[in-house]
Symmetry: C2
Subunit: 504 residues, 2 copies
Amino acid sequence: MKITIDKKNKAPIYVQIKGEIKRMIYSRELEPFELLPSERKLAEELGVNRSTVLNAYRELKAEGLIDSHIGQGTQVMPVLNDVGKDEVQQSFPISWQHMLSQEALRSQDTSIIDMMKGNSKDKLISFAAGIAAPELYPIESFEAIASIFHEHTYEPFLHTPVEGLYSFREAICKLMERKRINKVPEEVMVLSGSQQGLDLLARNYLDVGDTVIVEEPTYLGAIQIFKAVGAKVIGVPVHNEGIRMDILETLIIKHKPKFIYSMPTFQNPSGRVMDLAHRLKLLELSYAYQVPIIEDDAYSELRYEGDEIPSLKTLDKKGNVLYLNTFSKCLFPGLRIGWLCAPITVIKQLSMKKQLMDLHANSLGQRLILDYLNMSKLEHHLSNVIKVYRNRRDIMISMLNKYAPEGVRWTVPEGGFYIWCEIPETINTRSLWMRAIDAGVTYVPGEAFFTSKQGQNFIRLNFSFPSIDEIKRGVQILMKVVEESLEVTNRLSSDNKVEVNPMF
Amino acid sequence: MKITIDKKNKAPIYVQIKGEIKRMIYSRELEPFELLPSERKLAEELGVNRSTVLNAYRELKAEGLIDSHIGQGTQVMPVLNDVGKDEVQQSFPISWQHMLSQEALRSQDTSIIDMMKGNSKDKLISFAAGIAAPELYPIESFEAIASIFHEHTYEPFLHTPVEGLYSFREAICKLMERKRINKVPEEVMVLSGSQQGLDLLARNYLDVGDTVIVEEPTYLGAIQIFKAVGAKVIGVPVHNEGIRMDILETLIIKHKPKFIYSMPTFQNPSGRVMDLAHRLKLLELSYAYQVPIIEDDAYSELRYEGDEIPSLKTLDKKGNVLYLNTFSKCLFPGLRIGWLCAPITVIKQLSMKKQLMDLHANSLGQRLILDYLNMSKLEHHLSNVIKVYRNRRDIMISMLNKYAPEGVRWTVPEGGFYIWCEIPETINTRSLWMRAIDAGVTYVPGEAFFTSKQGQNFIRLNFSFPSIDEIKRGVQILMKVVEESLEVTNRLSSDNKVEVNPMF
């Protein structure tokens, strides 16, 4: 009989001994009529006073679990009710795979997990991340705010309303005014990252078989979320100025989509900006066919050149645009704070679901960012990071200019985090990725951003996360890998120029 | 023409003017061939230099959006592509109600939102909350930890892996060792509150029409989550020592449930503890019929008397128990940090879904609690709050003893947050609740904790949140309301003792 006691535990030792023996009796580690060690022996073994063991045995006796007879020692009594008596016959483990729901079976893609693993700066040079440069996080401002722990007493540790802290929603409204989005706090819901906003919208409005139209390429997390709830996700090609509107209208008529998901400014992954004319046309289609638009505006603060174009939400006069944004790209991602701006009806409907999902976004994160916004330091921070990111983009572009082999093309984005790079179709991109990782560089393969097998000849390169040195070395390495792959492919294709003789 | 410029905006004034005019042209606020004000006039109006307006007009001209002819002034040019030309005919708003998914339609219960509103200490004395006493939050310890902002540089603001910070999962394992749950970090997933754990499990394993068996009464959030994903939720009555095992076995055979959801220790709302024999029997049924158990262990640290009983997870030898816990009850709820302990296969399957829901739980909260745990202060904090809560419970009980009218019964829980109170069935509990709120006290009506219309003669009283003074005043007020309602009912029922004469 092996009893473990913990002298630092607040429960008295005799209670611990009693509890252990009780457990062993019920779990059949001690069989009925098995002999317990004598009080003296057990006390010695455990290094405790004999009276401690005595107390434990006395209480166990009082509960009828053990009994002692002179000359026979102390015995385990058969537990009176028949519980636990029968041996469990079935010993095979539960098949968790067969437990999976339909939704889970549609969610088996690990791309995002893989990408997030690529965030560590350990060994690889990562162009795969989608995150702001950590060395630029305005920690010093937050150090000042941290007095929150002293000043605000317990509010930052309590629940907030499901929709978020009201004062924070007011601050978000003020922030959106800079984009000429003039809304009231009741039209804002704080989210555990804008990722949750997509999930919340999907669960609240999409049934199996519903259709969502997305730009193609587009944010892979959005594609996955819509597919996970069983929606049909249809891509409409993006060209330089925005969505192909003629195709979009045809698709709307044919598929009657529940939503159009769009990232009009510094689109992830293409970096493209939809021009004003296309934005107005998109809204017109939304009004005409009664299809709401989910506008994902995560990157718009990060403009390195060119004129600001009003967001869809700014231009929207009828409440058709559900506007998602986040603090993850302009500040940092770890606090998991994003928001949705939408008609009050929508906010109310979503809060029914949100209460069940996680009650509300974390209070401390809301309060920290609220205090930061009230310090009016965001603008200054943005102008800082914009300078840095612009420089990193320019360096990545100049390295591409210098080292990219013929046939490789790329965008020069006016803002955001990504360069969208097209490589000759002859290259096997899956093996390219493996080679790149072997050589010390990673990125996100283009096919992740398409609704179906496409985009194999694209790669997404992030320039916000890596350092200048990493960009320089990384692009050189990567382009060398591309060049070598091209050479191999060319050699193979010239080898393959043999005539094909039919078998008969 | 009304142009707004923002001198604090980082964009040059001429760019702002240009952008505004461009927007007005595309949105048809300015009609084709409409005259713009002269450069001089606009400059005066806006209080800017004339050359600023000149620059804006020059760029607009270059883009073909305006043109100027001597003697005619500056005119808006018709926009070349036909975008935005057609008037939008349909002006009716989107019917968001008709947009709702099946899942959303099953999630229209606002009970939790209502309860969370009842958390404010403003006017009502609230026995409705389910939260730890804010005045006991160990803020002073966290003040020390807040040096995190300085020390840890940017890690607490970055992403963590989907499953949570590895070092935090290690600390959670150490915490669970105190309950003799010996697991590795890979078997732990950090959640945005244990509420999210229920949602995650529901989405990952339940399809429409699946069955879940719950104790009855039980946590209302669990009932709602299971129902929201379309599961059939069947309640099995709880008596003093735990679930009625005979009924449970019959239900398992009949309904082949996907899960059994149980809160064996200090059950919410009943406060009851399942004894060891029942726990072992429950596991036996789980093994025999291959039904996993979701064990919700949120309250077990808060024991005011009696011996600790091993958790189901502690007793489980086959990995059938999925164990949920949270820091919300023993510390504070605002950080939204809970965890699941489950077989590695389950953790892997769930992380596929979690990445789409919100990527991961907030990093800062994880880090703060990790540092707190490493300071070994939790045990001391718990012994503090246990003293306070035990006292509050005792006072609430003594007030009930003193003021409860005949026919009112209640539990004396050995731990947790709640007293479960039964009032005579003659009382109309919906009107009782309204009367109580009018009188200044709120609680949660019992029916919220049942899967179907039942429990109207129960109320849940929380004693962790209100102060001693509030408990004293609140119970007096509430019992007076009950007494008055009883008098009214008795009077009505004696009035009703008239003979009923059939109409013919």
